[in-house]
Symmetry: C2
Subunit: 323 residues, 2 copies
């Protein structure tokens, strides 16, 4: 059977779909503006579990994952729709009210307007489809496909925290019960991720990036997606990958911490490439935004090299996929 | 517990949502154009059953219900997204390929471009969220709220066929097995409805309607929604309601046929109101499009009167709702 990525490639080819395959589709709006749109499906038991999270967090996260896609285009989010399907027993609880409380709290901070959606019944499980639209200046949406050999690779924040939080939840920790700061931080990264809306706009409005993607599946997978779309390779330096400092509470072994950062999903930081002449002279700006330099783009198409002090290895995309 | 309509009213009020509550949200696009957008969730076992339908029909219907919402704004559909969640066993079958075949066959006829969406895994049941965007000339989207007392009420086609098809399916009929023309027609109305895209554009581009809604829940319910949004009432004439002629094969009793037309859902015809001075003089145009006149708008807010030869009664909305 095809993986979900192979399936989408085939669909794109079979039906000549030119706008499929980036974090958002880019559509013309008016003479000065493009619209970007994205949709993200969240399914109970697959993407969240009610005994691990709170209804407010499900609402928050549904919006956050789509805001992250809009940020990855360098765009400003503007409006959204939510389609939600719930079984009868959930309808008769406070779940839906609390879901929207979480959704609107995040939407308010980013001035996103809810304009529509759907409410439906499901036989058993909760399902949410989150749709967000944003705007960029004409032809300035940042695609995955613009990276060129020699470009520098950056990430907008520390990695591995969401995967660390998932590990804690799988091991039975719950945020109400934990007393340690690092535990709460890691669980928050998993259940209530903050989309990089400000970073995305900073990158987009200053035209800093040649290519960008959000880290939803994991660094190894998403860097591979970006390289594939751009027809390039990448060399990243192990010691430059910024680890979430709270991981040190979870595992002491440096290699294990690094694996969370390399292959863990759902950090929702932005990964982007920058031409050297754009970067040099602007080091302070990158520092101000906590953009971490990881490595550089190479001409070795679809080859991701990991440079460690002792050896250089080729890594495989090992992040999350549904199929 | 609130009904889904009460819930949406409360959400609209609590969060001051001005664009919620019509068939589509209306958003500014450029100086001459507005964008309309809609999302519709279809859930296995609630909205369709695999043993009643075919994957191609599920794809067709997912798009059709959203095209119907766009048509109900008098708009032209332009682009779409599909989010689809399926369990592993369905992913490993030909379902998804055939779903998209049905989707693209309908999309091609209406020149709708697939621009994005999502693919996800579900624990058990199939779920589809269909998102369609359309365009209208600036400020000319036809809302539910513009009906005025004295306006005439029209429907764009015959009613009750989809509910008749549902009855056949519930009684065990399947389209592969039926030999009678009327049975196949009714089952097609239920499984593979044709959205009224051409009728919607005819009404919209000529500015014929003061208000419009698509008949998804059923005539009694959708007329009530339109009256409520407009702050008016309606008087419809029983003998003017156009019955799907294939219903005569299913039930001989005229009252039963009429109940399918009045309270059955999913006919996806358009219900609209027309100011008398717009209608008179254009009778031929309405006839050409098979627009049937049902009655007229009254000042009796939210009261729907049904005028039969023998008596006039007030009817309640009895169409479909999820909660």
């Amino acid at each position: 059977m095809p993986t979900e990525f192979q399936f989408l490639d085939r669909l794109r080819e079979k039906y000549s779909l030119g706008r499929i395959g980036d974090d958002c589709a880019v559509l013309p709006k008016d003479a000065r503006t493009d619209l970007v749109v994205t949709a993200d499906l969240l399914v109970e038991e697959i993407d969240f579990r009610l005994d691990w999270t709170r209804p407010e967090f499900v609402g928050h996260k549904a919006l956050a994952v789509s805001l992250s896609d809009v940020a990855a285009m360098g765009a400003r989010p503007v409006w959204a729709m939510v389609s939600i399907g719930v079984p009868e027993k959930i309808w008769n609880s406070d779940f839906v009210d609390r879901f929207y409380e979480g959704w609107f709290a995040l939407a308010g901070r980013h001035e996103v307007e809810l304009v529509g959606g759907d409410v439906s019944r499901t036989p058993d499980k909760i399902v949410v489809d989150s749709i967000v639209a944003g705007e960029t200046r004409k032809s300035q949406a940042v695609l995955r496909s613009g990276a060129r050999p020699g470009d520098l690779i950056f990430v907008s924040g520390e990695l591995g925290g969401a995967a660390g939080g998932l590990r804690l939840l799988m091991n039975g920790s719950r945020s109400e019960e934990t007393t340690k700061h690092w535990q709460n931080r890691l669980i928050d990264r998993q259940l209530k991720p903050e989309p990089e809306v400000a970073a995305g706009r900073a990158v987009g409005s200053r035209r800093l990036a040649s290519a960008m993607i959000d880290l939803s599946d994991g660094l190894s997978s998403d860097l591979f997606h970006l390289c594939r779309a751009s027809g390039v390779g990448a060399k990243i330096f192990r010691d430059l990958i910024p680890l979430d400092p709270n991981l040190a509470g979870l595992v002491q072994d440096a290699e294990q911490q690094f694996q969370f950062a390399l292959n863990g999903g759902e950090d929702f930081k932005l990964l982007f490439t920058v031409a050297p002449d754009i970067f040099f002279g602007r080091e302070k700006l990158f520092e101000k935004h906590s953009f971490f330099r990881l490595g550089e783009v190479t001409a070795n198409t679809e080859i991701i090299e990991l440079v460690a002090p002792s050896e250089t290895s080729v890594i495989e995309p090992r992040g999350f996929r549904h199929f």
